[in-house]
Amino acid sequence: MLRVIVCLKQAIDVTQLKMDSKTLRLMTEEAPRKISDFDKNALEEAIRIKECLGCEVVTVTVTAEEAKTTVKEALAMGADRAYVIKDPKIAGIDTLTTAKILAEAIKRLGAFDLILCGEASIDSFSGQVAARLAEILGIPLLTSANKVIVKDSDIIVERNLSSRYETVKAKMPALVSVTWGINQPRIPSLMAIMKASKKEIVEWNIEDLGFTSEKLESSDMTIEILDVSVPKIERKKRKLEGENAAETAEKLVKALIQEGVIGGGDF
């Protein structure tokens, strides 16, 4: 049977991320967590392959925090088993180390045909982990997938490359990263949610995978985040109103001419 692995990141729900008005810092600790959006698309795609061809779908999550609720949602959607590599030492690791841990975990899962990732995660938006993972595992990488077709031992992917579409083929095992447009992730039914509670969640820590805590220490990191600031938005915020639409429009035209963004010097 085919085996599909989905790399599922537990990300910060950025739409609910708030700024502390006193310190002007983002309250990342307090913000709720969820499955990173594109990863949900990746999972949905895996479940569709399962429905179509029959396969085993397992998820792998690398996290410093509790991820049970997040992972349960994936199981309710239709994943068969979830692996969570959970260790407080994972906090603040870079994309290279994340990929190394994922690779190590995946090696322990045995043979597989396909790995599905998101094109980028909603919080860090680096778009690197999938590429790095494929490189470490030495398997073909097909990014920005808009459509995925499994055909015998081949994978055929339509890639959305913002100025063109490309269809690309590779031999499995391969790694595919998906974009948002590939599908509409399902919302699990109550039945599915109940059934999911019986599914297995396997938890590993870093040592289980042969990593030492020294190896994860900051000295081994390739980058260092010095600061995360909240961008200042300085806009005029001028509300334009008139007696009617025509008058409002006139006001806007005048303002834009004054700004020098429309027209030449003719008027």
Binding site: M19, A131, D266
Partner: protein, 322 residues
């Protein structure tokens, strides 16, 4: 200790390469080091010549029929060999979708760090390179530095500007490297039909959101765009859900910096705003006076697009055709 030297620039998108060279030059001058452009392809002597006049002191050119069009493993192996051989301190790579994956893979082979989609690159007082990058869907801007060399960064289109044409010309060095066998095979390429134009380069953008309920209504936006000599863009749902466009503006789409951005029926959710933040002037028209787009607009009109846009078309026509 510092065997890594100089700043490199590569992009399979030639105009993006020239933009990156502009920034590379600026940093290199401050560090008193050299800028090297990497040009890969077939029959691309001209591109190498051009790179040599837009800021590169040196151009490493690999001209090989196998590099005719972008192929990830071949391009990756070429860049890997060059990087191992010549050890650049900093390697700036164009942030196309292919470029980003290439940079991440290169960084993995070199066991180094990569910062994608940098919106700014600066030197600290100690002359260390730091990058800024949008995180948390646009709510945060991270300042990041590298802990190891080479320092790899990817740069989106229109982040920096290319230099003026210079008389001074860099040296072109033709090289040969062994190329890896591809692991993937391209079967077809289909250009995106709907929006052919690169919104990144537009001076004025008329952008449509879900406030447009019927496809016919887009004619309003198109007419306004015609009067203003503008490009039409959209928020993601119009492309992804309704399929009226193939591309969209925002965090996961195109980042734009026009002189004028007119948002029609767009709510202004952070992921959209992240793509328009650098616009000079933002105009928003929305029927909901509490729409978040008004928080980041210079000029706000509360009203229905079906009323306001026709009035705007008339008003612009009147003044622009005088």
């Amino acid at each position: 200790m510092n065997e890594y030297k100089g700043i490199w620039a590569f992009s399979e998108d030639h105009s993006l390469l020239l933009e990156i060279l502009g920034k590379g030059r600026e940093i290199a001058d401050k560090l008193e080091t050299e800028v090297t452009a990497i040009v890969l392809g077939h029959n691309v002597k001209e591109k190498a010549e051009e790179a040599a006049t837009y800021g590169a002191d040196k151009v490493y050119l690999i001209d090989n029929p196998l590099l005719e069009s972008f192929q990830s493993e071949r391009y990756l192996s070429a860049l890997t060999s060059l990087t191992f051989r010549y050890k650049p301190e900093t390697f700036l790579i164009g942030s196309t979708k292919d470029g980003k994956a290439l940079a991440a893979r290169l960084a993995t082979r070199l066991n180094t760090g990569c910062i994608t989609d940098c919106i700014q690159l600066e030197l600290t007082d100690e002359k260390k390179l730091v990058a800024k990058k949008i995180v948390y869907g646009g709510k945060g801007i991270a300042t990041i530095l590298w802990q190891v060399k080479p320092q790899i960064a990817t740069i989106p289109l229109r982040t920096f500007t290319k230099l003026e044409f210079r008389e001074k010309k860099g040296q072109i060095i033709q090289l040969d490297v062994e190329l890896e066998e591809p692991k993937t095979r391209r079967l077809t390429v289909r250009p995106l039909e709907v929006s052919r134009i690169r919104v990144e380069e537009a001076e004025i953008i008329v952008s449509c959101g879900r406030g447009f309920e019927k496809k016919e209504d887009l004619a309003l936006a198109e007419e306004l765009a015609k009067v203003l000599n503008a490009q039409v863009g959209c928020s993601r749902p119009l492309a992804e859900d309704r399929k009226w466009f193939t591309e969209w503006i925002g965090l996961s789409g195109h980042k734009v910096k026009p002189k004028l951005y007119i948002a029609l029926g767009i709510s202004g959710v952070i992921q959209h705003v992240a793509g328009i933040r650098d616009s000079k002037v933002i105009v928003a028209i929305n029927k909901d006076e509490n729409a978040p787009i008004f928080e980041i607009a210079d000029y706000a009109i509360v009203g229905d697009i079906h009323e306001i846009v026709p009035a705007l078309i008339k008003a612009f026509q009147k003044c622009l055709q005088k």
